[in-house]
């Protein structure tokens, strides 16, 4: 008993320094660090939008519509990225557009990550029939063209933030499950797991205490890279009119609006797209760096 009380703080200290080492190694990769900075800035923009944004993102000003970037309004304040077809400030909308993108990204990844982790743990640890059934379910999930299935379901349920998050979250678990399952298959044969089994630990305890912490790093890499994919999907849904509904500014929705004015107002479609590109690029760079640091053999 005393051994465990001493062991726990020691373990925690070790874990902390492990994360610190990881961060140092990650920071040495310049591209990964750059990605991290970009992602941090986008998160800061999303959280601080009301204070950072120079204008109200949904306030219309019809007399000032379709003004090119850099145009001042009558009072002399400048629309840095111009205005849209309803005279709304484009920069403000781009900043506020980070909110639905990141919210859907984080929430959907959390849902699919948890489902995938559970499926992967169970599938890899118990094997046999359970594994067969779960992996066939994964095959079925993968057979669908993702966007098509998502818009069909959202079409039936109606587009709202919770529906979008749940639909993306519930249908994206397969990558996580496969990666975690792969990790569990090899962990299952390791001595520390067999020792725990020999000592009579229950399966649930072995999975949570011994296997999960070791299967966590590949999961984290998948989660990071998957967030980039989810953000693109969220904007694709908004682009098709099946995402978060107006007047909430979304990058995809702004692109769809801008597409109509493509021959007269190039900035409308250009800047929201750049916002998506930069965010996704940042996440991908960070994710690639994380993979190369943690688990270079991982193929995701």
């Amino acid at each position: 008993m005393t051994a465990t009380t001493i062991a726990i703080p020691a373990e925690r200290g070790a874990a902390r320094s492990e994360w610190l080492t990881l961060f140092r190694r990650l920071a040495r990769r310049r591209t990964a660090l750059f990605g991290l900075v970009v992602v941090a800035l986008v998160f800061a923009a999303a959280l601080g939008a009301p204070w950072l944004s120079p204008w109200d993102p949904i306030e219309q000003d019809i007399t000032n519509r379709l003004k090119p970037p850099g145009s001042p309004d009558p009072s002399g304040r400048v629309h840095v990225l111009g205005t849209d077809h309803l005279g709304r400030d484009l920069l403000a909308r781009v900043i506020f557009g980070a909110r639905p993108a990141l919210l859907v990204g984080v929430a959907a990844v959390a849902i699919s990550g948890v489902i995938g982790m559970l499926v992967g743990l169970v599938s890899g640890y118990f094997g046999g029939r359970t594994d067969d059934v779960l992996m066939r379910l994964a095959d079925i999930q993968l057979a669908f063209p993702f966007i098509l299935l998502a818009i069909a379901v959202i079409g039936v349920l109606g587009p709202s933030l919770p529906v979008i998050i749940v639909v993306i979250g519930v249908s994206s678990w397969v990558v996580y499950a496969r990666v975690v399952r792969g990790a569990v298959l090899s962990l299952r044969e390791r001595e520390f797991v067999q020792a725990a089994q020999a000592l009579g630990s229950r399966d649930g305890r072995i999975l949570l205490r011994h296997i999960l912490p070791n299967a966590f790093t590949p999961w984290l890499v998948v989660a990071t890279l998957d967030m980039a994919r989810v953000i693109v999907i969220e904007s694709a849904l908004s682009f098709l009119g099946l995402g978060v509904q107006p007047p909430t500014p979304t990058w995809g929705g702004m692109l769809a609006d801008g597409r109509v004015y493509i021959s007269t107002a190039w900035w409308l479609a250009t800047f929201p797209g750049l916002a998506i590109l930069v965010t996704v690029l940042g996440i991908n760079l960070f994710g690639d760096g994380l993979r190369d640091t943690l688990d270079p053999r991982l193929k995701v």
């Binding site: 066939r136 063209p145 098509l148 069909a152 039936v156 694709a236 692109l255 493509i262 590109l277 991908n284």
Partner: protein
């Protein structure tokens, strides 16, 4: 060999069975398919009568059985909007989608494999950096934005290529690049890492030691072995391409299954949506089955598993 193919065949049938259930279930997501299909202003009596006619009052299993037997005969019901068979509507649009997906795949392979090889062989040179950065950008760029930007430059500014519709080769170029870019990026990165791995193997060093020149080492010895993961991903990427066609077809007004499905969803024309989801998913399953069977020839070790 035979048992492997039989097993894969049975697995695919099982997957198609699961797909059919999900497609059936789309209509039942809210619990009341009648309300999904009917316009919101339908009267209570109309809803009742519609339920009776469509058999929505029958037990769930009976309804699914009916759907499945219909699906097997290519009967997904009538399109609410067009009054035609939903199956026929979708099948008529399939060639356009296959044409676009095929062209996108050609674009991807033609660009990605040489780029990946050059990147690996001339590692850490300017060429490698350029190809890596382009691949990274390609993987991070949303399809719909790329499509709009291509239209802005090539159709609006320079008036070089048509921005919408299906016709000659000119109509195909912009949509194929748009749809193919993500796949190009994926295959470039995969080819590069695959080639790097193979080039460091002993048998390559042996070949070089024997005095085999650079081109045959790269093209004969290395590429053959690096090709295996590329073949697998082509099968998987087909799913990305078929799914991506939804967006690309919408942007370029390409008359394929993707555009048809998006319009069908706007019109609440669910028989068409169901037929489209089912047929595209089945295509994906069948192509991957074909890829796996083909694979046993490329990599005989698989037959033993």
């Amino acid at each position: 060999m035979k048992t492997y193919v039989t097993r894969r065949l049975l697995q695919s049938l099982l997957v198609l069975f699961g797909v059919s259930f999900v497609v059936f279930f789309i209509l039942h997501l809210t619990g009341d398919p009648a309300l999904v299909l009917l316009p919101p202003d339908a009267s209570a009596e109309d809803v009742q009568r519609f339920r009776q006619v469509m058999g929505f009052n029958d037990p769930f299993v009976v309804q699914y059985g009916r759907f499945l037997s219909g699906a097997l005969r290519g009967d997904f019901g009538q399109s609410v909007r067009h009054g035609e068979s939903a199956f026929t509507l979708v099948v008529e649009r399939m060639p356009a989608t296959f044409e676009l997906a095929g062209a996108a795949l050609v674009v991807a392979l033609v660009l990605a494999i040489p780029a990946g090889i050059v990147s690996a062989v001339r590692r850490n040179t300017m060429l490698d950096y350029i190809s890596t950065v382009v691949a990274l950008l390609g993987q991070s760029m949303p399809t719909f934005w790329l499509g709009i930007m291509l239209i802005l430059v090539f159709s609006v500014q320079f008036n070089l290529l048509p921005s919408s519709g299906r016709g000659g080769l000119g109509h195909l170029i912009l949509p194929a690049i748009t749809l193919g870019l993500f796949t190009t990026a994926r295959i470039t990165r995969l080819t590069r890492s695959g080639m790097l791995e193979v080039l460091s193997q002993d048998y390559i060093r042996t070949a070089r030691a024997k005095g085999v020149g650079d081109p045959p080492v790269v093209w004969k010895h290395a590429l053959k072995n690096a090709a295996i993961p590329i073949v697998t991903i082509v099968g998987i990427e087909l799913g990305t391409l078929l799914g991506g066609s939804v967006i690309t077809e919408t942007i370029f007004a390409w008359p394929g299954v993707g555009r048809l499905s998006v319009q069908a969803i706007y019109n609440r024309d669910y028989p068409v949506v169901q037929a489209a989801v089912f047929l595209l998913s089945s295509t994906f399953v069948l192509v991957n089955l074909a890829v796996d069977v083909l694979y046993t020839y490329l990599d005989p070790r698989i037959r033993l598993r």
